[in-house]
């Protein structure tokens, strides 16, 4: 007996999916390689990259202007989909907030350049606001957020927060949605993050999951960044002299924990609220604390390099932390 004929559309759709998978880079590889000047100018030597592909890639990512991170994130922050930004401790929430809002400001600026309003929606769980402080309008405005296009939401529980986030992702007017939660709630597991991911892919509104004091756990986010506070560069006076006692632009130590790259990448960067962009920060230039008793004890963050013998295999998904 003949088998049921698979509809032609299904076969075509499957073929298309396979072709897309194969065209996509295998996991672990970063950008194809650093391009030569000629390639960048449009003279493709091997014909490897089609001009159209590059254009779409440029539209879907937001380059941060920090080569190390951009390289690990294959060009920049993905503008479609869920990106997780976490801090290990509540007291570091300031750094993560600043970094996330910097990203949101970049997204907003991008929309504004197209002549749109580009509102930002910041959904903050009640506990998150109580523990780390409520959003402060003056500070946000000084960081470069347009308050005339910023909505703040304080839902009563996580379920409401997820509903609002999902609803917002259905409206492509938003330039970015920030969902701030505390810890690793059981209500926000793989299925929920997958829903957010798919919604965001559909509408093209990036969603940043800002996780305060949370462990790393399996989620559908393509990208997970761990943000740590970093000492700011000295304050620069308008005439160019450095004021060593002053505190300069907000600085962050960003570790890309989950990317397509093999090993985690980290970078120091600072946000210039005047230019409204990130700058790479040379960690050497970050002055060691003046009154630290023993500067040698302060170790640089060892990233992805545990002291013992490396375990075999690769962690594909973490256990649920909640």
């Amino acid at each position: 007996m003949a088998e049921n004929a698979v509809p032609r559309e299904t076969v075509l759709a499957l073929r298309d999916a396979i072709a897309r998978l194969e065209r996509d880079r295998p996991s672990g590889s970063c950008l194809p390689s650093l391009e030569t000047e000629g390639e960048r100018a449009g003279f493709s030597a091997s014909g490897r990259s089609l001009p159209g592909q590059d254009v779409t890639r440029q539209e879907d990512v937001l380059p941060l202007g920090v080569p190390a991170l951009d390289h690990a994130m294959s060009g920049g922050l993905p503008l479609k989909g869920l990106s997780e930004i976490r801090v290990a401790e509540t007291r570091d929430a300031g750094a993560a907030t600043g970094f996330t809002l910097g990203l949101a400001a970049l997204c907003q600026a991008r929309r504004k350049a197209r002549g749109e309003l580009g509102p930002i929606l910041w959904i903050s769980e009640t506990m998150a606001g109580q523990e780390a402080g409520e959003p402060y309008g003056v500070g946000l405005s000084l960081l470069g957020i347009d308050l005339r296009a910023a909505l703040f939401s304080r839902p009563r529980n996580l379920q409401q927060a997820l509903w609002i986030a999902e609803a917002a992702l259905g409206f492509s007017v938003f330039s970015a949605v920030i969902l701030e939660i505390r810890g690793n709630p059981a209500r926000l597991g793989l299925p929920e993050s997958r829903r957010l991911q798919l919604r965001s892919m559909g509408s093209g509104v990036p969603i940043f999951l800002l996780r305060q004091a949370g462990e790393e756990e399996a989620s559908s986010a393509h990208l997970r960044l761990l943000v740590r506070p970093a000492p700011a560069a000295p304050f620069m006076l308008p005439d160019g002299t450095m004021l060593t006692t002053g505190i300069g632009h907000p600085a962050f130590h960003v570790i890309a924990e989950k990317t397509r790259a093999f090993s985690p990448v980290d970078a120091y960067l600072e946000w210039s609220s005047h230019a409204r962009r990130f700058h790479p920060l040379d960690p050497v230039a970050v002055p060691l604390p003046a009154n630290a008793a023993d500067p040698v004890t302060v170790l640089s963050a060892s990233v992805g390099r545990p002291g013992g013998a490396p375990t075999l295999g690769r962690v594909m998904a973490f256990k649920r932390a909640s």
């Binding site: 300031g94 003056v138 500070g139 296009a149 939401s153 740590r228 907000p250 962050f252």
Partner: protein
């Protein structure tokens, strides 16, 4: 214990209000006595008033035991005055409510007739114009809504019926009893005007559907709401307005009425969006909305309208931005309430917690008018990204100099070493609000060894305002 209310059976037994319960029991041992519950009575009356909304939007309380309905201009919808009264009384009878009613040109006369008319019900309970005096005359003076002491005096003087008052010389009686007696009389006769004050503001517009078979499903209700909203659209367009506040009334078969309010952030007349609003509302009240045997009447009212500017769509094909945003705001607010979404509003104040506040976004998402921007401040201050709702106490064991920045501090049971500090930024109290002896705050921007940046202040000037001023954590920088 005394009797406050009687049912019709007890009335026929010639019991009286105000009589002692013991006395009544002695007369009729089989008497059934229930304790009075004025609050429950009031709740029941209010539910009945809701139910009466089906006849007219102008329903007012008439004392603690009655309702007055202004049916001006409504009677033709129900087939005339008589038919309307019969409909009210028969429906109430089916609901198990023993009610009496009368229709008259003045609320006072209707009140009197409904309570004191000796004629059988539905005989002559509709008083035509010109028959007021004849109808009111034979009633007792208690029908005039006068204070009890006044009524007693009148009865003792032999003025037992209203007709006696009508014939009596006015000047002498008014001198003795005050103006109230004749005011009430004139009001009942329609010589003097007496406005009814409806319980609820009258809706600007409303449309309703009466159903032959009741509906109970959420989808049916939504479909009907969409139809009703479509019915509103033409009128709103003619008026050049859109609704800012809508109310959907669901009349349940057994007389209970549900009211679902929904506000919008911008004037709205698109039926689809109004229906979408109610989709969220219904989802939000899902558990409280007991459909029972179904709803028989649905009414959509517009409580508040505002002029709408008609905007032509452009050719870009992009959806209108502000409309999409308003749509999102309305949906979220309809579902979770008004305090869920807010916008940051800046104010001209140097006190940090007064300089910015989060205010509900409901009214207008982003006000078209000018909003204060931080760049417009005379000096660009340094301000944190997040502000703690209440400044938290910080223990500072050591400072460089008594009025300088701290070197070490404890916050939330953790020790921090200060690597760098900027400050002080001295912010004096707003004496016109806080009083003259409110302490001055010295704000420091502090970076600890790992690079966390905090905003702390010393509450009071050292040794001038406070002997040993306390330190507080107020904000967190990026």
């Amino acid at each position: 214990m005394r009797i406050v209310a009687l049912d019709s059976v007890a009335d026929r037994l010639r019991l009286k209000r105000g009589q002692g319960v013991a006395e009544a029991r002695a007369m009729h041992p089989q008497l059934d006595v229930l304790p009075a519950d004025p609050a429950a009575d009031q709740a029941f009356l209010s539910a009945l008033a809701d139910w009466c909304d089906r006849y007219t939007p102008l329903v007012a309380y008439a004392g603690a035991d009655g309702l007055a309905l202004d049916i001006t201009g409504c009677t033709h919808l129900h087939g005339g005055e008589k038919a309307l009264l019969d409909d009210v009384l028969s429906r109430l009878f089916q609901l198990g409510v023993e009610a009496r009613g009368a229709i008259a040109a003045s609320p006072g006369l209707a009140w009197a007739l409904a309570r004191f008319s000796t004629a059988r019900l539905s005989d002559d309970s509709v008083i035509e114009a010109g028959e007021e005096a004849a109808a009111l005359g034979p009633l007792p003076v208690t029908a005039l809504r006068l204070p009890e002491t006044l009524t007693d005096t009148l009865i003792r003087l032999g003025l037992t019926h209203v007709a006696d008052l009508m014939e009596a010389p006015r000047a002498a009686l008014a001198r003795r009893f005050g103006p109230l007696v004749f005011l009430r009389l004139d009001q009942a006769l329609g010589h003097d005007d007496e406005p009814l004050s409806p319980r609820r503001p009258v809706a600007e517009l409303s449309v309703e559907r009466r159903l032959i078979s009741p509906v109970s499903g959420e989808d049916d209700i939504l479909g009907l709401a969409l139809q009703l909203a479509t019915g509103l659209k033409t009128t709103l367009e003619e008026r050049g307005e859109g609704g800012r506040q809508f109310e959907l009334l669901l009349f349940r078969v057994d007389g209970k009425v549900f009211r679902l309010l929904a506000g919008t952030s911008s004037p709205l007349r698109d039926p689809q969006r109004i229906a979408a609003l109610y989709k969220e509302r219904l989802a939000a009240v899902h558990d409280d909305l007991d459909a029972g045997f179904g709803f028989e009447i649905l009414r959509l009212c517009v409580l508040k309208t505002e002029p709408i500017k008609s905007v032509q769509d452009d050719f870009s094909g992009r959806p209108d931005q502000s409309r999409a945003l308003a749509d999102f705001t309305d949906r979220v607010i309809a579902r979770f309430g008004e305090d869920v979404l807010s916008i940051a509003v800046l104010a001209a104040s140097y006190i940090p917690e007064r300089a910015a506040s989060l205010q509900p976004a409901g009214d207008a998402v982003f006000p078209a008018g000018k909003m204060l921007q931080a760049e417009e401040w005379p000096v660009m201050p340094v301000r944190p990204l997040r502000l703690l709702t209440h400044p938290e106490r910080v223990e500072v064991p050591a400072a460089d100099v008594p009025d300088g920045a701290p070197e070490r501090f404890f916050w939330r049971r953790t020790a921090y070493r200060v690597a760098r500090a900027e400050g002080p930024e001295r912010i004096a109290a707003e004496w016109w609000i806080d009083g003259e002896d409110a302490p001055t705050r010295d704000y420091f921007r502090i970076e600890d060894e790992t690079g966390r940046r905090f905003w702390m202040f010393r509450n009071g000037l050292f040794q001038r305002e406070r002997m040993h001023p306390d330190w507080f954590m107020h904000g967190i920088f990026a």
